[in-house]
């Protein structure tokens, strides 16, 4: 037992940078997904049909392919072909970001469509242009409605991020595996890795739940039925 805990204590300093790498991947991807997802959703709902078609195709591709295939495609194919020499970390973050952007755009699209037509009518009746109405009336409500679905991307990305092991990103699992190769205690180390993932996952979800509560509209959707 003491030997096991010693293994845990010894490996923690080596795993710590892996935790930062994993979190870095997830947060960068979430950010890319947010920055891309909102405009994509707006184009999907309000754009002209050729633009809508481009977005639909994008979503179709990035939701249709396994992450590992996407990672290999970009790491061994697209980026080298473009002559771009970027670290594995950034390629992984970008691929995860592109993929979550596809999912996030669908979350935001659903949230925009859930806003009643009357909101647009009222905004326009006051003399707002369509883009003013979208920015000041539709989006603030849609983004709030999207929050529960959007924060759900965090645990998905976190668990998916371990796939980046395959292209050699020094994230949590990669570093764990390196330790196992040295000290041959797979059970100890992988239980430790699992525990760290669980902690990252649920502490992150706790933070997002607080954000959701912070942005809830008073008197809106309260009561026992929800």
């Amino acid at each position: 037992m003491t030997i096991l805990s010693q293994a845990v204590i010894d490996s923690l300093p080596y795993l710590l940078p892996g935790i930062f790498t994993t979190l870095g991947l997830v947060l960068t991807a979430l950010g890319i997904g947010l920055i891309m997802g909102v405009p994509m959703a707006l184009i999907h709902v309000y754009g002209s049909w050729p633009l809508q078609y481009i977005i639909k195709t994008y979503v179709w591709i990035f939701r249709g392919l396994p992450i590992l295939v996407l990672l290999f495609l970009f790491y061994f194919g697209i980026f080298p072909l473009l002559g771009l020499h970027i670290s594995a970390f950034w390629i992984a973050a970008i691929v995860l970001g592109f993929r979550t952007a596809a999912y996030q755009s669908e979350i935001f699209r659903g949230a925009i469509l859930s806003i009643q037509d009357g909101q647009m009518l009222a905004a326009r009746s006051l003399g707002m242009s369509r883009s003013q109405a979208i920015i000041h009336v539709i989006l603030p409500q849609a983004l709030r409605n999207a929050l529960p679905g959007w924060t759900n991307e965090y645990p998905i990305l976190l668990t998916d991020s371990s796939v980046c092991y395959a292209i050699g990103v020094a994230e949590l699992l990669t570093r764990g595996n390196q330790i196992v190769a040295r000290i041959h205690e797979p059970m100890t180390i992988f239980v430790l890795i699992a525990a760290i993932f669980i902690i990252l996952n649920y502490s992150g979800q706790w933070v997002f739940a607080r954000i959701e509560r912070r942005y809830r509209i008073p008197g809106y959707g309260e009561g026992d039925t929800r």
């Binding site: 009643q116 009357g118 909101q119 009518l121 009222a122 905004a123 326009r124 009746s125 006051l126 003399g127 707002m128 242009s129 003013q132 000041h136 009336v137 603030p140 409500q141 709030r144 509209i217 008073p218 008197g219 809106y220 309260e222």
Partner: protein
């Protein structure tokens, strides 16, 4: 309060949804300070007519003129005309993410480009007008139906419109809440606001209207001052329609 100056002209408005011709050529003039009330059976195009006036629904043909300027085919200038044509909706359509104050302020800030101070002052004044001074920081979901509709009237009033369109403003309210909304509207009429109202509140219509317009099958079937409804031969269909109310 009514003047001779014609501020709104509605000419030969037609609107069709697929097979269904909702408006079959509706025309009338509105004078400044006038209150016109549209009554008639459901599905005769009353609400569509109001929405055609501020172009929330674009008519198939016909024209709308506000102070001698054409509102139909206005292009981006429609956003200017809409500031002068207020609208109050049956289900309020308040902005749920904003407080009562925010609901009134937002168009002052974003459309009229007022300063924060100016907008706030103006909004507080309009909220007081409709008796909501104690609800300034409440969100729409925290208001009763009557308060919500009074707030939406304040929101329309804040733009200083030349005419306000009321699309069944009390149809989703309980009778006791209806009264407080009608009271606000009655006061507006008395103060010279030009109003076009679609309503089923006959008592209110008869007491506040300068003219009653009875619509049927997409046309104005009969019209005239409310005092003539009980006796005039011009109002036989209106009387039959009202009679069916009293059963």
């Amino acid at each position: 309060m009514m003047t001779d100056e014609i501020i709104l002209r509605v000419q030969e408005i037609h609107k069709r949804y697929g097979e269904n011709e909702v408006l079959k050529g509706v025309s009338f003039d509105v004078r400044r300070g006038e209150t016109k009330v549209f009554i008639g059976p459901s599905g005769t195009g009353k609400s569509t007519l109001l929405r055609c006036i501020n172009q929330l629904t674009v008519p198939d043909s016909g024209s709308i003129w506000l102070n001698g300027e054409e509102v139909t085919h206005a292009g981006p200038a429609i956003n200017l005309y809409r500031q002068k044509i207020g609208m109050v909706f049956q289900n309020f359509n308040l902005f749920d993410h904003l407080t009562a104050l925010g609901n009134v302020e937002i168009a002052l800030l974003r459309v009229k480009k007022m300063s924060r101070q100016e907008a706030r002052k103006k909004a507080l004044m309009e909220l007081e007008q409709v008796g909501l001074s104690d609800k300034v920081n409440s969100y729409p979901a925290e208001l009763s139906g009557g308060q919500a509709q009074r707030l939406s009237i304040a929101r329309a009033l804040a733009m200083d419109p030349e005419v306000i369109l009321f699309d069944e403003p009390t149809s989703s309210l309980d009778p006791e809440l209806t009264r407080e909304v009608l009271e606000v509207m009655r006061r507006l009429a008395r103060n010279g606001m030009t109003m076009l109202i679609v309503t089923h509140e006959m008592g209110f219509a008869l007491s506040v209207a300068n003219e009653i317009l009875f619509m049927e099958h997409g046309l104005i079937a009969e019209k005239g001052p409310p005092s003539e409804i009980p006796t005039s031969p011009d109002f036989t269909r209106t009387r039959r329609f009202l009679g069916s109310f009293q059963d």
